[in-house]
């Protein structure tokens, strides 16, 4: 019941036990727990970072998409414009061509008409001479009546 040498033994035991507990229990386990805490903290911050990066990437993707859409719209409108230009061009060209063809046809017709008229003129003169020869029963000197003939031809 009283204080005795057991006290000394217990002090030694206590000090030794503190040393052992530090060595085999507190040391390794607290280090492990600290490591785990650090790992978890790292993981969380990495996740946070990843989330942030994802947000950035999403934003970027949106921007790129918007750009692409705008570009597509641009290309489309340009193509439309170009198309209508081509059509307009084609219309103009076609009109010109038609005009040209019409003019050529007209010219040809006129040429034909004048040629026919020329021929007719010549024929009328000869018909008139031969008619007159038949009526008069003799040869008509064409040269003598040249003036009259020319006047006749001009009337046609």
């Amino acid at each position: 019941m009283s204080i005795n040498a057991t006290l000394l033994i217990q002090i030694i035991a206590f000090v030794l036990l503190i040393w052992f507990v530090n060595k085999v229990l507190w040391g390794p386990l607290s280090k492990l727990m600290e490591d785990r805490q650090k790992k978890i903290a790292d993981g969380l911050s990495a996740a946070e970072k990843g989330k942030h990066e994802l947000e950035l990437a999403e934003q970027k993707a949106k921007e790129v998409l918007k750009d692409a859409k705008a570009q597509a719209q641009n290309v489309l409108s340009q193509a439309e414009k170009r198309g209508s230009e081509i059509v307009e061009d084609a219309k103009v060209k076609a009109t010109e061509e038609a005009e040209r063809i019409k003019a050529a046809a007209q010219a040809e017709i006129e040429q034909e008409v004048s040629r026919a008229r020329e021929q007719l003129r010549k024929e009328v003169a000869s018909i008139a001479v031969s008619g007159a020869e038949k009526i008069l029963g003799k040869e008509v000197n064409a040269a003598a009546h040249n003036d009259m003939l020319e006047a006749l031809v001009k009337q046609i």
């Binding site: 204080i3 057991t6 217990q10 002090i11 000090v15 052992f20 530090n22 229990l25 390794p28 386990l29």
Partner: protein, 266 residues
């Protein structure tokens, strides 16, 4: 065997030696065995530590460690790598030694008497009901308090603490006495609180054990034996709280005292 003898028998240590050089073998062996149990279990646990997914027992030990570390963080200013293992050792060891109180009071002595063949062999199984154990821990803590006081404040600062605390420089004699009492009361209160609680708890267990043992004669046993069971269970459950609380108080006060020793404000 009479009531007085029964109690005295239970409260006598199994000793070797004479006078001061008496060794309370039961106290020493039980506390050493419990210390060895801590080391053995820790060493076994240390071999299969898992960082990622700790199993059941590791979780349990980790929660104790976390509990101790939280207390150290709350009550101890600054950082000292000795405090946490010290607090942990106190908590586990004191709790285990206190726990011996919950083993039925007659079981281990009876087993011991059967083994030795000596029906009068003494065995007091709870090391914390031996003042030597509690005082040994309290004095170790006290030595640390003195060491850190001098280490942090310097010899001059330590002497100044005695001279000018708590009443200023005009009451130096009073201050010396006051501070001396204050410092001495730390290990004494640590040792006596734990010893007193455990000793009293053991005594109550002995008294409850006496109900069925010596009071019950013949038909009265039908009344006394169930009463003993009920009382014993009640006191056991209550005492489970007490032993945990006492281990916790010893730990926290150690942390606080050492924290005060580290406090340079005085």
């Amino acid at each position: 065997m009479g009531t007085v003898e029964y109690i005295q028998h239970h409260l006598t240590n199994n000793t070797i030696g004479e006078g001061f050089w008496t060794f309370n073998m039961d106290t020493i062996i039980v506390s050493f065995l419990l210390g060895a149990l801590i080391i053995f279990v820790s060493a076994r646990l240390g071999k299969q530590l898992e960082t990622g997914t700790p199993g059941g027992f590791q979780n349990f030990v980790e929660s104790i460690l976390d509990f101790v570390a939280t207390n150290v963080r709350d009550a101890f200013p600054g950082h000292n790598p000795l405090i946490a293992p010290l607090a942990l050792t106190i908590f586990i060891w004191v709790w285990l030694m206190n726990f011996m109180d919950l083993i039925p009071v007659d079981l281990l002595p009876w087993l011991f008497q059967m083994i030795t063949g000596d029906s009068h062999a003494y065995l007091k199984v709870v090391p914390t009901t031996d003042l030597n154990t509690t005082l040994a821990m309290a004095l170790t803590v006290f030595a640390l308090i003195l060491y850190f006081n001098i280490k942090i404040k310097g010899v001059g600062g330590f002497i100044k603490m005695f001279l000018f605390h708590p009443f200023g420089k005009f009451f130096i004699p009073v201050n010396i006495v006051m501070t001396f009492i204050e410092e001495i009361s730390k290990p004494l209160s640590l040792a006596l609180r734990l010893f007193g609680n455990m000793f009293a708890g053991e005594l109550v267990f002995l008294l409850i054990a006496l109900i069925g043992g010596t009071l019950a004669v013949g038909a009265a046993a039908l009344f006394w034996a169930p009463l003993q069971v009920v009382l014993d269970l009640g006191w056991l459950i209550f005492h489970l709280l007490v032993i945990t609380l006492q281990a916790f108080i010893f730990m926290v006060l150690t942390i606080v005292y050492l924290g005060m020793a580290h406090d340079e404000g005085h």
